[in-house]
């Protein structure tokens, strides 16, 4: 039984290697290539470690880190859905739910269910932990766009109003303080 559990766990760990091949829209800060979802997840976990004090309410940073480590694993099956892409939210949510059940289902049952529950909590964005995690997941690409002189905003011809509308609610809800900074960045960026 223990041997079988370990086989399931290693099967899961091998499967998620594929997240390294899911390419996001956002570039690296040096603009040499686009970021992949595995390294993005690592970076976000470091954002949580470093920026924990900017959460809107009390958060359990360790849970936030774990959420961010696994939040994009569903993209192995469904790919990265660009924020400026126009995919239907309901269709995307259903595809991702199927992917989550398949991939976390590779694990021993109790472990897989716990991980699925954490992913669902992230998606629902109703707890402070999930809201802070969601805020960081929006904040990081916004920072990239600002510090690469436009990034995906320039490519997609996004307006200042669209940026405020697409990033604002999630960042503000999880971290009003970071959103205040973002507003300054965005205003400066689009008036330059």
């Amino acid at each position: 039984m223990a041997q079988h559990s370990l086989e399931q766990q290693l099967s899961f760990l091998r499967e998620i290697d594929r997240l390294k091949s899911v390419v996001r829209q956002s570039p690296l800060l040096d603009a040499t290539r686009r970021e992949n979802s595995a390294e993005h997840s690592w970076h976000l976990a470091m954002y949580a470690v470093v920026l924990k004090d900017y959460a809107n309410g009390p958060v359990n940073t360790n849970r936030v880190i774990r959420m961010l480590l696994l939040h994009d694993i569903v993209e192995i099956d469904v790919g990265d859905m660009p924020i400026h892409g126009g995919t239907s939210g309901a269709v995307q949510a259903e595809q991702e739910a199927v992917a989550a059940r398949r991939i976390f289902g590779l694990l021993p049952a109790a472990q897989g269910e716990a991980m699925l529950a954490l992913w669902q909590e992230f998606e629902a964005a109703e707890t402070e932990d999930a809201r802070f995690a969601k805020a960081l997941d929006r904040f990081q690409p916004l920072l990239i766009n600002v510090f690469t002189g436009g990034g995906t905003w320039s490519e997609s011809r996004v307006t200042c109003e669209q940026v405020i509308q697409r990033y604002g609610p999630a960042i503000k809800r999880g971290s009003p303080e970071l959103w205040t900074l973002c507003e300054q960045w965005v205003t400066r960026h689009f008036s330059a």
Copy 2:
């Protein structure tokens, strides 16, 4: 002051973006390219989440995860030192210590010192947390080599005895159970 702290924290988070451009020896499991140290760090954090019960002694998984998230950040300055490369351990350790002070020194003092201490704990490998983290850091590339039909072992013409000698002590000390599995894999691999 708070504003200055946030600037320091964002400066650190931008700096560590460079870890995505540090290329390791190990390939991805699909062998399409080599792994970088940022996505490797993400994967190892997931190894800690999933394999926590295989630690040799009681560990604080949250500390292990944090250690693994930051354990390679020094490579931004010094690069990845291949296990089969023959670099002097003392020279490498000194270069990495300088890098750690520079990079974690970008953070507000208290936060940077805490992170430096966690990195030093990992390097010293004297606590159970650090030993388990070190074991995973050796286990993951071994798994890759086995599941890619040789990987860096074939490239470097490494013998079975060298594999046992270079990976064994660290894995066995942090996780005897995982090492038992590794021995089976390695024996089978080199007798094939």
